[in-house]
């Protein structure tokens, strides 16, 4: 069986670090900023050829410096076969989510958690003209936002350069210090934009592996459908994947994934997650006000589940019993909230 094509793990991690200010690397600050600006400029052109050529350059440099012989592994390429606008890439609508799932549903687990795989998918999508490079810098669901963000970061560089020229020119030490603070702020703005692009490339250097699940656009969609598919296979749970996707909507997924894909991941255990899904299903079919209350309390509920699982083996307890325990948690939270709220006159 062919392996899916991806960036080599050791390369992909170093790729991100090559572009980021890391640790106490202050003496190399200028060269780091210079690298970041070149990266942003290549992205700003929105030319796939230019941007990918720049990425290839960085890849070659990292491989040479670190004795990495093969930058990519595998041969079978996967890509979402749709041309997307920026807002579609940033927030996948329903029909696109289905397409993402259909494209990637058969990849093995090891591939699904590999940032280098997803990074190569995005590289491929840019190469085929399905997305533009500037989409990677988007921070909100609005077309053109990515390009605007890069423009602002490049402006920050120009401002920083002007301030650097002012430093040490007859000004006193205090003024020089003030200038340094302003320069650092501009450099931070540049760094932030680069980090955003790296996260959209599913590079773990900025914030770790969690981005695959809850920051990287394609990953967010994929993993929500993957959890739904996984739980639909628990026959005794009695929920199909569409029902679970309705319960486990995109907003709820944000709360889930913040807890699920971290150390506080007790809810990733099938019996516990199943119980939570049954509880949410029951509240959704009830009054709207109740469903809204539950949604508001979801993070608290998950925290209390984690607390409960310290002494009780919820992962071994059947779905229905977990549902009942979660109902007790919710009722208790509501009782406490009502006790603490001042009486309405």
């Amino acid at each position: 069986m062919n392996e899916f094509k991806r960036f080599a793990p050791e390369l992909w991690d170093l790729f991100g670090k090559h572009l980021l200010r890391e640790g106490s690397d202050e003496q190399h600050e200028d060269s780091k900023v210079s690298k970041q600006i070149k990266f942003l400029e290549a992205c700003h052109t929105d030319s796939a050829q230019e941007f990918l050529a720049h990425i290839d350059q960085i890849v070659e440099s990292v491989c040479t410096d670190n004795n990495i012989r093969k930058p990519t592994i595998g041969t079978e390429e996967l890509v979402v076969e749709s041309k997307l606008c920026e807002s579609q890439f940033f927030t996948s609508p329903q029909n696109l989510q289905q397409k993402i799932w259909d494209t990637f549903k058969d990849i093995p687990n090891e591939t699904a958690i590999d940032g280098g795989f997803w990074g190569y998918v995005v590289y491929n999508m840019i190469q085929k003209g399905h997305i533009k490079p500037s989409y990677l810098a988007a921070t909100i669901n609005r077309d053109g936002n990515g390009h605007h963000n890069i423009t602002e970061a490049l402006k920050a560089d120009k401002k920083a350069s002007k301030l650097v020229k002012k430093q040490g020119k007859g000004s006193d030490e205090a003024t020089d210090d003030q200038l340094s603070v302003k320069i650092a702020k501009h450099h931070q703005a540049i760094d932030k934009c680069v980090r955003r692009i790296l996260r959209s490339l599913c590079n773990p250097a900025p914030r770790g592996k969690r981005i695959i699940f809850n920051d990287f656009p394609l990953g967010k969609s994929f993993w929500r459908w993957k959890w739904a598919d996984k739980m639909s296979q628990e026959r005794s749970l009695g929920l199909d994947s569409q029902e679970i996707l309705t319960i486990f909507d995109a907003t709820s997924y944000g709360d889930f994934s913040a807890k699920m894909h971290t150390g506080r991941s007790y809810i990733s255990s099938p019996n516990i997650f199943g119980g939570l899904l049954l509880f949410l299903k029951a509240t959704k079919s009830g009054k709207k006000a109740l469903a809204q209350l539950v949604k508001k309390e979801l993070v608290n509920i998950i925290d209390h589940i984690s607390y409960l699982s310290a002494w009780k083996a919820l992962e071994a307890q059947p779905f229905e019993k977990n549902r009942d325990d979660i109902q007790i948690i919710f009722d208790s939270l509501q009782a406490n909230a009502n006790t603490e709220s001042p009486a309405v006159e």
Partner: protein, 285 residues
Amino acid sequence: MPDYLALDFPVLREDTADFKGGIAYTVTATRQDETLMVTHTLTGQSYISRLIKDGKAKFSAQLFYKKSSERKHRFADSHSTNGLEITATQAIPLDFSYPPDVTGNIVILSQEKITNDAESGLDDFWADVKKFTIPEFARIAYHAKLSFSSDALQQLIKLVCKETLAPGKMQTLVNETADEGTCPVKLVCSQDVYDELKQATPEIQNNPKTDRHATRLAILTQALCATYAHMQNIKLPDEQINGSLLKHLEMLSEDWRGENFNPSLAATEIQPYILSKLQKESSDE
């Protein structure tokens, strides 16, 4: 060990005094190709050994695959008895290419009323309690988590020498909202400590070759403990926390925001004290 909850029934774990001497629960885990071999051992006579022999409690392994944050659970199907020792071995196929963290415990399968008699194995602490009820699926014994992996510290910690500090002193300063790209943890050291730590390799090594190397790593363990203790009290959302620090905390086997998180245990899981090296005579580097 983490702080345990105040429960209405006695729980067997390493740091509690609920049980008499000679009663212990241990777990080992080894990897054999694509299989994880987990062995549970319960020694001594206690209400727990009675429940296991009667089929009312089972050994269980919780698996945590760090990279995907997925949790699995497996009961041991059978056990064997040899005098006062009960053992169970689980052969668990790996779900991923890397081994998970393993937490062993003993779980009761249905609610039970236990009589505190001469064979319960309980210490004087429980002398006044004649009977106690244990809820269904309660964990009645725990073992410390077993981890297979470790990670690097160089993005996390910056060494700073403060010449005015008296020899042997070190201060750990944590700035959880440090700008991205800067080290969130500063170790402000006296000259002698600084000189030693500068020679410590950035990667964690669990098998230092010399006692001096072990000493350097022990100092880093202390710094990690202070860092985790500081973060335990921080209530900021993830988005406001420095990325390097967050990335490091994510790889801890215990949830650093959890009620039972113990900073010193977490630090020694990342960077264990290798006392054999400190105690043996060995040549300097």
